[in-house]
Amino acid sequence: MSAVVILFRRELALAWGGGGGPLLACGFFVCLTTIVPLAAGGDLATLRPVAAGVAWLALALASLLSLERLFERDLEDGALDLLALGPLSLEAVVAIKAAAQWLATGLPLALAAPIAALALGQSIDLAPLTMLAALIGGLGFAFTGALGAALALGAKRGGLLIAIVVLPLFIPPVVFGAGALTRAAEGLSPWPAMALLTAYVLFAAVIAPPAGAAAIRGAQG
């Protein structure tokens, strides 16, 4: 079995094992989107225009939840040294961890996103597009989040620091993702915004592995 598969399977097992992180993220996501109608009133005329925006904000916040364990635990228990002495470069380790984070957390969230948007009054015709946008955006969240988690390594209150570092970087995907859905709801083509969203994700996927690996080396030394 190749090292990529071995590490990927371990990351998935760690994400799902002991506490069910992905379910927690989905629960958090559903709670957030449920609170909005309670806070702003259940009137669909109020909710519908902001449905896409609120769903994406909730998505971004829910994606933050499990980032803390991505590298911090491995640093605490020494597993990061083990990963650094493996056959793959640290850059590859960061990329694999981000990809596993996406599969473990981003995918369940993308499945939950259309339901949440529906509850906020979004038209059911937009459900496939919502899921697709959440899938692509989730990949961006995972890579950007991995970078933030690596940068916050070794800091006290790392989880909070990750949120502060990462949330500003989540703004572009939120803008593009929510923009695509808003345009689609207005009967315009969502694809220009989707193209920008994809471009952001590719950018994050290129930047995060080398930058994250450099941050990890700094934390190890």
């Binding site: 071995i6 491995d74 605490e76 228990d77 020494g78 056959p87």
Partner: protein, 207 residues
């Protein structure tokens, strides 16, 4: 395969504090070196510098093969170096079997390596237990298993025997002897003497 490790006038610092200066050391296949020195002398830091985790202030860590050709340090560390520190890199919530399978697979296990490691380190009754339920000595044996399951030439060991009882110290000593007989190299930071013939290097003396 790594045939010799050489440290040339190595100076290490942690923050502002210089740990030691101009430490030179050559370790050849079949040899073990025991690093001694007071707490904080820099034994662990030296091991971490050899593993590539700490960049030395000055000096160089070099790996050579049997024909005295230099091996690219990145390549050497990725394929031929084992590091076992105070922290064993084990996840408390996973079973010993899962952790051993991951560590051995990740570091390049040979066919049948895991079975052999389980056999020699007496891990069979522990395999289905969660790692957090193991005692310190049992955890250490589980961590040592990767050295057997995924053979690599250079072992960097930080106090490898400290949590082990007399019986397992002896058994691990036998494993070390076998590793050296097979052309391996051992660099270990110790307070108690190793149970094998080893050259002693005082890290604190190089201050």
């Amino acid at each position: 395969m790594i045939h010799s490790l050489s440290l040339a006038s190595l100076t290490l610092a942690r923050g502002e504090r210089t740990l030691f200066r101009d430490l030179s050391l050559t370790l050849n296949a079949g040899e073990a070196v025991a690093l001694t020195g007071a707490n904080g002398a820099g034994k662990t830091s030296l091991l971490r510098a050899v593993a590539g985790f700490i960049r030395p202030e000055t000096g160089e860590v070099a790996f050579h093969d049997a024909d005295a050709n230099a091996i690219d340090p990145t390549e050497a560390r990725a394929r031929q170096v084992h590091m076992l520190g105070h922290l064993e890199g084990l996840k408390g919530a996973r079973t010993a079997r899962e952790e051993l399978a991951f560590q051995a697979g990740w570091l390049g296990q040979v066919h049948g390596g895991v079975d052999e490691a389980v056999q020699t380190l007496g891990l069979r009754p522990l395999l289905d237990l969660e790692v957090r339920k193991l005692s310190a000595g049992q955890r250490r044996r589980l961590a040592l298993a990767r050295l057997i399951a995924a053979p690599r030439a250079l072992w960097l060991l930080d106090e490898p025997l400290s949590p082990l009882d007399a019986r397992w110290r002896e058994a691990v000593g036998a494993l070390m002897t076998r590793h050296l007989d097979g052309g391996g190299l051992i660099l270990a930071a110790v307070h108690d003497p190793l149970p094998i013939p080893a050259r002693s290097v005082d890290v604190g003396a190089a201050r």
